[in-house]
Structures are given as structure tokens and as C-alpha cells.
């Protein structure tokens, strides 16, 4: 039998990593969110002042709203697109494996590089968008997409919305586990492929859909590169989100207490969204 010290020895590195990068940071930000702290020297206890400040701060409210917009767009626009492409490829059209590989490609490229690429695409003088609009006679629509308050937020969201590869693979994997017999009966009844998707495939992959929404929430809460690189939160904070707000309060403003209070709110939002997903899934399951 393995002895206790042997088991403990093997668990040691793992426990150290989890303590150092999850448990201690979690306790630290909860503790510090009730303090004012400039990063050095003693921290002053402030009670709930940091949270009061945050919810009266316009840029924080925008950051929170924008993060929720990301979750909404991810859930109700991006995820259906992933599902649509997965359903199309699940019928195994000619070269479907090749297309699957191409659609997944953006996921292996860093978000930094993609954000830079789209920054260039949106560029007012040399960007592909404005050049194409010019070429097809719609030069009047051309604009500085990332600097225009009306288009900045949708522009930072667009690359994420259209790169459907990750969700598509999750759905395709799940669809491939559905036995073909499930379809045979309804095919005899003359059900169209759209009806088969709606009545058989989609209900059977509901867990994968919930999982995808879970990833969407995680992605939206962690998203940093797109606003940071494309707009740095501008114009006039139109594109700021929670990650960028946390970063700014810490790095630019040296308001560590506020930064960590914003972190606590991020965790709370995450927990709330997660509970909603589980509740909806349980509803659908029963």
C-alpha cells in the first residue's frame, strides 16, 4: 500500500500551485477589496467604500455593462452561428474535415495578433474595410471604426463573433456521438434535415450548448486583448470592460483596493451567470 507521506509528496506541487495562484489570490482580493491601498505601505480599512465608489463610477458601470453585452452577444449571436456551422458540417459535405480545420484556425492564433490584425483592418486610411467600401462606391460609410463612438464596441466584438471554430468543434464532437438510428424513423416520416436538427440534434446536444455558453461567460469575463489593443477602452470609455478596468486601476491609477474590489465584482458576476446556466440546464433537462 502507498503510505500517506508518499501520497502527500506527490500532491505537494499541485497543492502549492493551487494555493499560490487561486486560494491565496482569492482570499487576498476579498480582504483587500475592503481597503484602500496604493500597493505599498499599510492598507486602510474602508468598509464598503470601494464598492460604493465603483457603482458610482461611470467607467466601471460601462465596464460592467459592456462585459454583460459580451456575454449576451456571445450567447445569442456567436453561439447560434457556431451551432449553424456545426449542423452544416455534421452532414459531412465534401471536404468537411478540411473546413473544420480552417474554421478552427483562429483559435491557435494569439488574441493579441488577432486584435492587431483587426486594428489594421479597421484602420481609417489603409484598412481593408474602408478600402473595400471605397472600391464598391460606399466610401461615404467609411469611417474610423474604432474611434467612432457608434461603431467602436461592435467593432471590437466582431472578430470574436465570427470566429466560430471553438464552439463548432464542441458541437460537432457531441453530434458525432448521436446514433444514426435516432434519425431513421423520422426520415421515413419525411422530416426535412432542418426538422431533424430542430427536433433531434439540438435537444440531444443541449449539454454541449450549456458548456459552450459556459465558455462564452469565461471568455467574456477574461477578455482583455481586444479592447486593450484595439481601442484601449476608448473612445470615451465606450469599449472598456471589467478586465481592462481591473488592469487600469492597478497599473495606471495605482488604486489596488479599487482594482481588487472590481475583481471581486467580476467573480460575483461570474458566479451569478454560472448559476443561471445551471438553473436553465436543469429546467431543460426535466
Amino acid at each position: 500500500m502507498a503510505t500517506k507521506p508518499q501520497i502527500a509528496l506527490y500532491l505537494l506541487p499541485a497543492v502549492a500551485l493551487v494555493l499560490g495562484f487561486f486560494v491565496i489570490p482569492l482570499l487576498f482580493i476579498i480582504y483587500m477589496s475592503f481597503h484602500q491601498w496604493a500597493g505599498l505601505g499599510p492598507a486602510t480599512f474602508m468598509g464598503l467604500d470601494n464598492f460604493t465608489y465603483l457603482f458610482n463610477d461611470n467607467s466601471f458601470r460601462t465596464a460592467l455593462t459592456n462585459t454583460l453585452i459580451w456575454v449576451g452577444v456571445g450567447t445569442f449571436i456567436h453561439t447560434p452561428l457556431c451551432l449553424m456551422v456545426a449542423l452544416v458540417l455534421s452532414r459531412r459535405p465534401f471536404m468537411w474535415k478540411f473546413f473544420r480545420t480552417i474554421f478552427f484556425l483562429p483559435n491557435v492564433i494569439s488574441t493579441t495578433a488577432i486584435a492587431l490584425l483587426w486594428y489594421f483592418l479597421y484602420h481609417v486610411d489603409l484598412g481593408l474595410f474602408n478600402k473595400v467600401l471605397d472600391a464598391i462606391g460606399l466610401g461615404g460609410v467609411a469611417r474610423a471604426w474604432l474611434a467612432d463612438p457608434n461603431t467602436a464596441l461592435p467593432a471590437t466584438l466582431l472578430p470574436w463573433v465570427i470566429y466560430i471554430g471553438f464552439g463548432m468543434v464542441i458541437f460537432l464532437t457531441q453530434i458525432s456521438t448521436i446514433p444514426t438510428e435516432f434519425y431513421e424513423a423520422v426520415q421515413l416520416d419525411g422530416a426535412t434535415s432542418w426538422q431533424q436538427d430542430l427536433h433531434i440534434t439540438i435537444p440531444l446536444i443541449r449539454r454541449a450548448i450549456a458548456l459552450q455558453v459556459l465558455f462564452v461567460v469565461g471568455y467574456a469575463l477574461k477578455m482583455f486583448e481586444y479592447p486593450f489593443i484595439m481601442t484601449n477602452g476608448g473612445p470615451a470609455n465606450k469599449t472598456i470592460n471589467l478586465s481592462l478596468y481591473i488592469y487600469r486601476q492597478m497599473i495606471t491609477a495605482n488604486q489596488y483596493g479599487l482594482s481588487m474590489a472590481a475583481g471581486v465584482v467580476t467573480l460575483a458576476v461570474g458566479t451569478a451567470l454560472l448559476s443561471i446556466i445551471f438553473l436553465v440546464l436543469r429546467r431543460v433537462d426535466s
Binding site: F21, I24, T101, S110, L117, T192, Y247, M260
Partner: protein, 273 residues
């Protein structure tokens, strides 16, 4: 028949649209990176007049790209090895049932659902405290830590398929706890470990937030941090920053060309369970 025809059109319309939106931006970036600044404005769609790698060589001269690429490689490899070691050892320890094993399991994966960007301040201080601020080792250690729960989940799931009887028999043969791990369990688990390794390497190579808060000069900065400097310093030389962006994504894309199926499996491995 009519509806089959219609759904055929729909299929190819969807595929066509997503091919265009996926590939055209990258193609445009790559082609533009071969043009001169002047050509970029005068001839935005066409191929470059002369195929020249001038932007690439000048990118290496403008910023220490070689150092950035080296740092990224060191951080990716080190963090991957650390996370794999910690995850394999812990998974093996948990093959043995003991009173708290369920609790330990939950403890080790609870970080899976936490948005780690909320932790930038405490992690910054922990790295400072360890004396690893502004070093590539600090970055590597953080990557190993934040990606540990997912690597553990992947390897543990795989290791749980090792038959208990095999361990029993080896034990009866007199093999020690350590021997069984290194000579029997680890070799069986190579596929699971490779899956986790792929995911770890790619996420580490692509990370920006922690790399930028934990480093402040070029000897520790990774390529994701460095590539931004092509935009922010000097008057922007666009084709040159295009070339730098291309170079930052070449390693992962190249790996993807050869290992696409494995990489897809590795990066979506977290969705298995």
C-alpha cells in the same frame, strides 16, 4: 428533391461565407506584410510589385524580436513541463483512495471556473515576493499555476482509465509506489499528457495580460508583449508591424498545419467531461 437542392445551396453558402471571413483577413495581413508602406496605400488589394522580405528583416532590426521569441519559447516550455509534472504526480496520488481524496480532487480543480484576470494584483505580489518579477521564470510559473486545473482535469481523466488490477499486480510483484508511477502509469498516460501539453504550449505562447504586468524590460518580455511596440513606438511603419504580427503567429500556425487534429483535440480537451 427541391429542398435537397436548397439545403445544398445553404450548406455551401455558409461554408463559403465563413471561409472568406476566416481566411481573407489573414491573407490580407500576410500579403500586406510583403509590401512597401507606399504600396500599401496605393495598391491595397493587389499582390506586391516585388516579393521582398525587407519588412521582416527590418522588423528584427527595429526591435529585439529574437529575444522576445526566445522568451516566449522558454516561458511556454517551462510552464508546460511544470504543469505536466504537477498534474501527473497529483493524478497518480489520487489513484489511491484515501479519506480526503474527493476533497483534494475538488480543491485541485476549483480554479477551473475562476476568471484569473481578477487576480492580477495578488499574483503580481506573489511573483515579487518570490523574487521572480521581471524574469521569464516568473511568467512561466504563473502560466503553470493558472493552467494547472485544466491540465490536471485532462490528465486525471486519462489516468482514471488505467485498470486498477494492473496496479495491484505490479504491487504484488514488489514494485514500489514510485516505480509503478514511472514505469507503468506514466507510459500508459502519454496520450493524455501530450493532449495537455499541446493545450498548455499554445495558451502559454499566446498569453498577454500576465506577461505584460510581470515584466518590464526586453530581456523578460514575450513576443505577445513585444509585438505591440511596433505600433506604439516611432511613427508607425505599418508593413513592418504587419511582418512582426505574422512572425508572432507563425509558430502556432505552423504547428497547426502539421498537427491540426491533435491540436483541436488538445484545445477542446477541457470540454470532455
Amino acid at each position: 428533391m427541391r429542398s435537397a437542392f436548397r439545403s445544398g445551396i445553404f450548406t455551401w453558402l455558409v461554408i463559403g461565407i465563413f471561409l472568406v471571413v476566416t481566411l481573407v483577413p489573414f491573407a490580407w495581413l500576410t500579403i500586406s506584410s510583403l509590401k512597401t508602406n507606399q504600396e500599401l496605400f496605393s495598391n491595397p488589394f493587389g499582390l506586391p510589385a516585388t516579393w521582398s522580405l525587407a519588412n521582416y528583416t527590418s522588423a528584427f532590426a527595429a526591435h529585439p524580436l529574437t529575444i522576445y521569441l526566445r522568451n516566449s519559447a522558454v516561458a511556454s516550455v517551462t510552464s508546460t513541463l511544470l504543469a505536466l509534472a504537477a498534474a501527473s504526480l497529483a493524478s497518480y496520488a489520487l489513484l489511491h483512495k484515501f479519506r480526503l481524496s474527493r476533497g483534494v480532487y475538488v480543491f485541485l480543480i476549483f480554479g477551473l471556473l475562476l476568471p484569473v484576470n481578477a487576480f492580477i494584483a495578488p499574483i503580481f505580489y506573489i511573483i515579487h515576493f518570490l523574487g521572480l518579477y521581471n524574469t521569464v521564470w516568473g511568467v512561466a510559473l504563473v502560466y503553470a499555476g493558472i493552467s494547472f486545473p485544466l491540465s490536471f482535469l485532462v490528465i486525471k481523466t486519462y489516468m482514471d482509465t488505467v485498470p486498477v488490477e494492473l496496479l495491484e499486480v505490479s504491487r504484488l510483484d514488489g514494485a514500489s509506489y514510485h516505480r509503478i508511477f514511472f514505469n507503468i502509469v506514466l507510459p500508459i498516460c502519454v496520450p493524455g499528457i501530450v493532449t495537455a501539453a499541446i493545450f498548455l504550449m499554445i495558451t502559454a505562447w499566446n498569453e498577454l495580460l500576465f506577461a505584460s504586468i510581470l515584466t518590464q524590460d526586453q530581456n523578460a518580455q514575450t513576443v505577445q508583449v513585444g509585438v505591440r511596440f511596433f505600433l506604439t513606438t516611432y511613427s508607425a511603419n505599418y508593413p513592418q508591424s504587419f511582418a512582426a504580427t505574422v512572425m508572432s503567429l507563425v509558430p502556432t500556425v505552423l504547428a497547426y498545419v502539421f498537427l491540426s487534429d491533435r491540436i483541436i483535440a488538445g484545445m477542446t480537451a477541457g470540454s470532455l467531461k
